[in-house]
Symmetry: C2
Subunit: 500 residues, 2 copies
């Protein structure tokens, strides 16, 4: 067998999969950004058929032959093809180790479960959702057995979102977060500092908000010739290739900061993928290497830059120009304080930068215990509420603002949540290294975002999936994941902000 020729055929074969994935992505994009109401059913059918085509190509006899032919020669392959072989093997094993009929039944269960979860959340009644969630948990426990696991069974699922991360590492990680953040939250609760937030609910026209979002995007380095900004119910980023990474945001007339930070958050994701090496374009390596590293980029732009005083020193004049009436009695410092106001709250996606990781910790501990079989699905509402009380000092009044708030479990996404917290920590760790080379605060205050993007591109973005999360962390910071950079960042920031 001629390896060179097999390589070419393999790459052409992957191009077919990628084309179907691009098509499927565009169908999703279209559905979320304005497809006609009546098109929903036909659209779902089309998406379902494409998913089956992709599955069929990714698990075919041909794919198996490519992998078994190329794997013995992997050291002779060019680095991109070698990485593709590695990634395809992971996907192949993941998809083929689970019996096809069980996976199909599970997919149907998840599809049904999402609408049941919606109804249960609306009714704030966990018991409606519990029977399905039990089955989903059972399937996941069984699938982990099919797929195999090293150490804790949860590790296999964690690896799907954050390759290399384990329960062992996460226990240590969240241990540090718990130890450092919980006392900080309590100190703030006792602080007498008054932060003005009255002006954030004044009325801001959507058109003007949009103009500001576009202004910020252009300045911070999102390439609008290789993407676009649209609106959707929930903001998201969707990528095709470095040349087409799209984002959405959502404007609330009476909550103008929401769209700003959503836009900047998604821009962080998008700048990551826009700056992957063009050599990787069109391959499955042209993505962020993990959910956690992705989230480190979005939260870097949203929080570390976007909620810094320097950022607002630079952008506030433009904001005031657009909203002169609404902001006439608001200083830069007052705006900066308002967007960093921290208080324990019930809903994860509305949580502030400080308390956010604690929400994730609640979910992590529950998922881990479910996978172990240590806790029962029926007990989740009370377990949830206990943990919220313990870490955040508040208790949900009902299931809607408690255990039912997130969609993830209804879609079987166990192992996803920790990446949100990892992203925060990775981001702070990267910044520590970045600051050795760049005067970050000065650059941001002067609106010089290009050197920052260049640093991120050279150190992180350009690699796409060529490097694993841990390889990137090691390469950039010289050590493994270390949550102390994040907790130090939080301690400094909130000590100053609240005069603790």
């Amino acid at each position: 067998m001629n390896v060179q020729k097999t390589c070419e055929q393999f790459r052409t074969y992957l191009d077919r999969i990628k084309a179907l994935q691009n098509a499927s992505s565009l169908l999703h994009w279209d559905a979320a950004t304005g497809a006609p109401r009546k098109a929903v059913d036909d659209r779902s059918k089309t998406i379902g058929i494409l998913a089956a085509e992709i599955f069929s190509l990714a698990t075919s006899e041909d794919m198996h032959t490519y992998l078994t032919t190329l794997e013995p020669s992997v050291s002779e392959l060019d680095p991109i093809t070698a990485a593709l072989v590695r990634e395809c093997r992971k996907d192949y094993d993941k998809m083929t180790k689970i019996p096809a009929d069980e996976y199909k039944a599970y997919s149907e269960l998840c599809a049904k479960s999402m609408s049941v979860w919606e109804d249960a959340k609306e009714a704030s009644d966990f018991s409606m959702f519990a029977p399905l969630l039990e089955k989903i948990v059972d399937y996941n426990r069984k699938f982990v057995q099919y797929r195999g696991h090293e150490g804790h069974p949860y590790n296999t699922l964690l690896d799907d979102y954050e390759p290399g991360i384990t329960v062992e590492k996460l226990d240590a990680f969240f241990g540090v977060l718990r130890e450092k953040i919980v006392p900080l939250v309590k100190k703030i609760a006792q602080s007498t500092k008054q932060i003005r937030t009255d002006f954030t609910s004044r009325s801001f026209s959507v058109e003007q908000q949009k103009a500001f979002s576009l202004y910020v995007l252009e300045k911070i380095g999102y390439d609008l010739d290789a993407g676009m900004l649209k609106e959707s119910a929930h903001p998201f980023t969707l990528g095709f290739s470095p040349n087409d990474i799209r984002i959405t945001t959502h404007y609330y007339p009476e909550n103008f900061t929401s769209a700003i930070f959503s836009t900047v958050h998604e821009a962080g994701h998008a700048i990551y993928e826009q700056n992957v090496d063009q050599d990787l374009a069109g391959t499955l390596l042209s993505e962020g290497t993990s959910m956690g590293i992705h989230e480190s980029q979005s939260r870097f732009y949203e929080n570390i830059l976007g909620r810094s005083l320097g950022f607002w020193k630079y952008f506030y004049p433009k904001l005031q120009e657009l909203f002169s009436e609404q902001l006439k009695d608001v200083s830069i410092e007052q705006l900066h304080e308002a967007v960093n106001h921290s208080t324990p709250s019930l809903i994860r996606i509305e949580a502030d930068e400080l308390t956010y990781s604690l929400h994730v910790m609640v979910r992590y501990e529950i998922e881990k215990a479910l996978l172990e079989g240590q806790i029962q699905v029926k007990d989740l509402p009370s377990i949830w509420n206990q943990k919220m009380e313990e870490y955040l000092g508040i208790t949900p009044k009902n299931d809607k603002e408690g255990v039912l708030q997130d969609v993830h479990w209804s879609d079987g996404m166990f192992g996803y949540f920790p990446s949100y917290a990892l992203g925060n920590a990775y981001g702070a760790q990267f910044v520590h290294s970045m600051k050795k080379e760049l005067d970050l605060e000065k650059l941001v205050t002067e609106g010089q975002f290009e050197p920052i993007k260049t640093w991120l591109r050279e150190n992180i973005h350009r690699h796409g999936k060529m490097l694993s999360p841990n390889e990137i962390i090691q390469k950039v910071t010289g050590e493994d994941l270390n949550p102390l950079y994040f907790t130090q960042y939080l301690e400094e920031k909130y000590t100053q902000l609240y005069g603790l």
Copy 2:
């Protein structure tokens, strides 16, 4: 072989093709309505791969087996599956009778040719384009031999766009048009009637034009919950299923009537496909039955309704409300006259309702002679100009406004043009039947478009591709294509308008 089971498998197989076609359509839609500039190359690659997947499924051994298994039992099949077998056979033969390597070379030639044509048009130099067009013509002549033909070789290509139409029928058809329209054009040229058009080039805001387009769309019965209106360089309609038929228009601030009639024209196409029976949704039968019947619907809405006095009696108040300043000195009658002003012109897509068919006739005669080998590509500019002089009394000054104006030939679309003229004639013939049941003028003047749409749905739209063009014409009008309805309509309309 169990026919019932084969039927089901066949339909599932076709669902796969349709899903890929839907995906491909959405990629085209996205490209035309705002995909990022830098995405063009990646996008073309994705579209190319999907096209190859579709081709591969449509010409596969599996498809051959389905067809040969089902064809002997076609009388036992349900009518939809029987029609699908018929359509798939046509496509299969068309695609497989031409040797694959020649078809590939031809496709590449066309792709290249389109950009050469663009440059040649820009430079107004036919000699740049002629060598490629010669090859395209040669390929088409050869392909017709591969595919076989009854009667004139051009018939095979005509049939691709308008099943059942032949050179014999078109010669007679255009003969009548020539005989009736050419003298009418000359009479108008000698008329002393003064028509005001000064106000059509006043400045009309795009936002307000858009509001008017949406207002008209809703009133005439385009379902915005099963479609959408966007903007693109050239207006077009794109359909997925009756539940998602999208249209675009193009606004010119200094030519407000352009967008109105583009919008109404595309709405005519879209209303056709939105009203195909839901039973056919998701199949390849959920389309207009031919280009000509399609065009009859778009031109019915655009010209027969949209350029009638009754239409403007109903819509003018709204237009004047939106543009009170620009239209303060313009009466309904003056607007009606302006949008029907007829004068020989050089560019087909800008031609008025009366002279339009003559532009098509020029192209028909040239294509027919090229397919026969009666004329040479190099002589096209002079042949073109002679015919323009003969039918319209004007001669292009250069190739750009003459033989190079249309994109069709650069993409190998021979046989397409006649459907534009057939559409006009079908439309008038349908209206003759419609008027036996509906008081069309009264309904339009009162803004009652629903009974009109219902009549079209029951008689034409709902059938999709279940009936051939000629079956529909026969069923609705009781006779074959008869161009006299169209020429009578023109004679009456223009005699009155110009007081001939």
